[in-house]
Amino acid sequence: MATKFYFFSGKGGVGKTTTSSATALNLAGQGKKTLIVTTDPASNLADVFGQKIGHDITPIQSVDNLFAMELDPDIATNEYKEKTLGPLRDILPTESLAVIEEQLNSPCTAEMASFDKFTDFLQEGTFDEVIFDTAPTGHTLRLLELPVEWSGVIETASKDGSSGQTCIGPAAALAESKEKFDRAIEAMRDKNTTSFTFVLRPESTSIQETERSIKELQRLGIESIELIVNGVFPAEAVDNPLAMKRRQKQEEFLRIITKIFKADPKILYLRSSEIGGLTKLKEIGEDLHIRAQRLSDYTFSSGKAKTLKTISSYPKTDPSIVKLLTPDPDYRTRTIFFAGKGGVGKTSVSSATGLWLAEKGYKTLVLTTDPASHLKEVFGQEIHHHPTPHKDAPNLDLAHIDAEKATEEYKDKILSQARKKYDAERLSAIEEELDSPCTEEMATFEKFMDYMSQSEYDIIVFDTAPTGHTLRLLNLPIAWDKQLEIKTLNQEQVTEVDKATKERYDKVIDKLRDPRKTTFSFVMYPETTPIIEAHRAVQELESAGITTTLVVANLVINDSYATNNFWKERRSMQQKHLDDMKNKFSGTIATLDMMPDDLNGIDNLREAGYLLYGKE
């Protein structure tokens, strides 16, 4: 029987790992030889199955027929490097080998290696079923685009009159890789071979992101898409005003989902406790695949929730937090990063923080580096590649890094230099060479470096992409700095341009490492997986010399709403984790209560800012 592939994708925190593992359990339970692969560099799969997994295909001890693997970009890179180094190991002097190895640490190799490994899994193999638990949307769409793009690059370079060279080697040597990519593309597009499931929550941002992603997949020729709506409030949870208000919101969104998507989604309800242990996971597998409830069967509640007054009181403004958020007296600017697992509220917290600071009189820019950002929905206005003022808030500008625009800018810069020197034919060849996925990543990174070097704003608040993606971005200045060093090793004379670039990178690296200039903050729910993920990332940043000084606990249930067993259970679960956070993180902790509305619009954001940092 041919292997079947299942992709689970969606915004961060919607339940991709839960639904994909539950599906894997279900398939393995039917006696099918099943493999679950996570492509998320910040995966929680090991936590779900309560055992070590790692980069090798590993049997899950407590489940027959089930195997798992965590694609580790570092190990994939080493394997990829070994393909080059292996043949040379015995014949070249160690000094030369060391230089080649350093070069292979280039960021391009790392991306290529992960993607190459990923396409390996999309080939016919020994498994009946292969399930991909993917990284949050932005990252995953890129992974799916890469086979198409690289296949195109190799094809162009093989044509007569082309250089015959690609960024990843001579086109002639890549014929086999191209065949592999093409087979992967074909498998992804065949609806009898591959199924795509988007997991979403009944919330505006999650719906909008799903809608956009579906369009992107269609552009790649992937048409057949299923949906799971997760986190729907069960009837027993709805007996207090906050829950009623939130359910009313949810139902508005469930109606929108029915209207805009072709597929009739399956529904999963919010549970009073966390999903740990195989028994619960098996139950969810059955909820999804045996007694699945469809949205078309859902009974909408009647009646309207009462308007709700906030009962929370604002905390007293803590001078130590103000110090973390505003420019140090000795330096012109402050850069603040909000990072964390997908879906924990990075954009909301970044936006609320940006507004709070702007209203204190600081010239502030809120900038997102997440390709799947929903800053637009949060502020209710178009966000551009160039900073634009917020329509109502003075001192507040908004922007996102648009990969396509950044790539155009970068290409224009290089081509306008080249135009002075080369003829039309050569220029078109250079343009062709620039048409590579490497260029896009480089261009986005350059734009990030521009912002890191700016002095126009008092404060820049970075709303970052989910953890894995962000760790990679933050590691790029260090990685490219190293590449410039290798380049100078090979050259008699270092060019002025390279010298200037290296100085610029060094400055940014310094800035990232200096807590007087940069504040690193992790946002999380008081729940197991977001805390574990943040804690891991904090340690990884620590090893790069970057200290985390602020932690935000989001969606904390205010005691006054813990009115029935369902909410009391959730509240006490949260308290346990809030205590755990104090032990795990050394930085200041700020909390944000669960609010009745989605955090959209300036009034809600202002309220959130007061809840976080105080009002006076």
Partner: protein, 100 residues
């Protein structure tokens, strides 16, 4: 038909338009190779980090690296003969070296 092989040092990409700054000297090399192709040379370019097996195929290249480390690269071979090491040749040097 004459042929040129360039054995390159480790680098991200021979096009010169990759990495933090465009590398003009590499772009000039590509321009030269395009010219050579037009005057019916067969041109092959191998980066040591991408095509190690091509380096192994020519024992002379490996021997040079063993003796002088990577700074002996790039090495240019025209019609089977090593004509330049340590830097790229000019187009005239290539033409002068071709046999027949």
């Amino acid at each position: 038909m004459s042929n040129v092989i360039i054995y390159d040092p480790p680098m991200c990409c021979s096009s010169g338009v990759c990495g933090p700054n465009p590398d003009e000297s590499l772009m000039d090399v590509e321009t030269m190779l395009a010219e050579l192709k037009k005057s019916s040379f067969e041109v092959n370019r191998y980066l040591i980090n991408q095509s190690p097996e091509k380096f192994k195929e020519d024992p002379r290249i490996i021997k040079l690296i063993q003796e002088k480390q990577l700074k002996v690269l790039p090495i240019t071979v025209v019609d089977g003969e090593i004509i330049k090491t340590g830097s790229y040749p000019t187009i005239d040097e290539v033409h002068a070296a071709k046999k027949g």
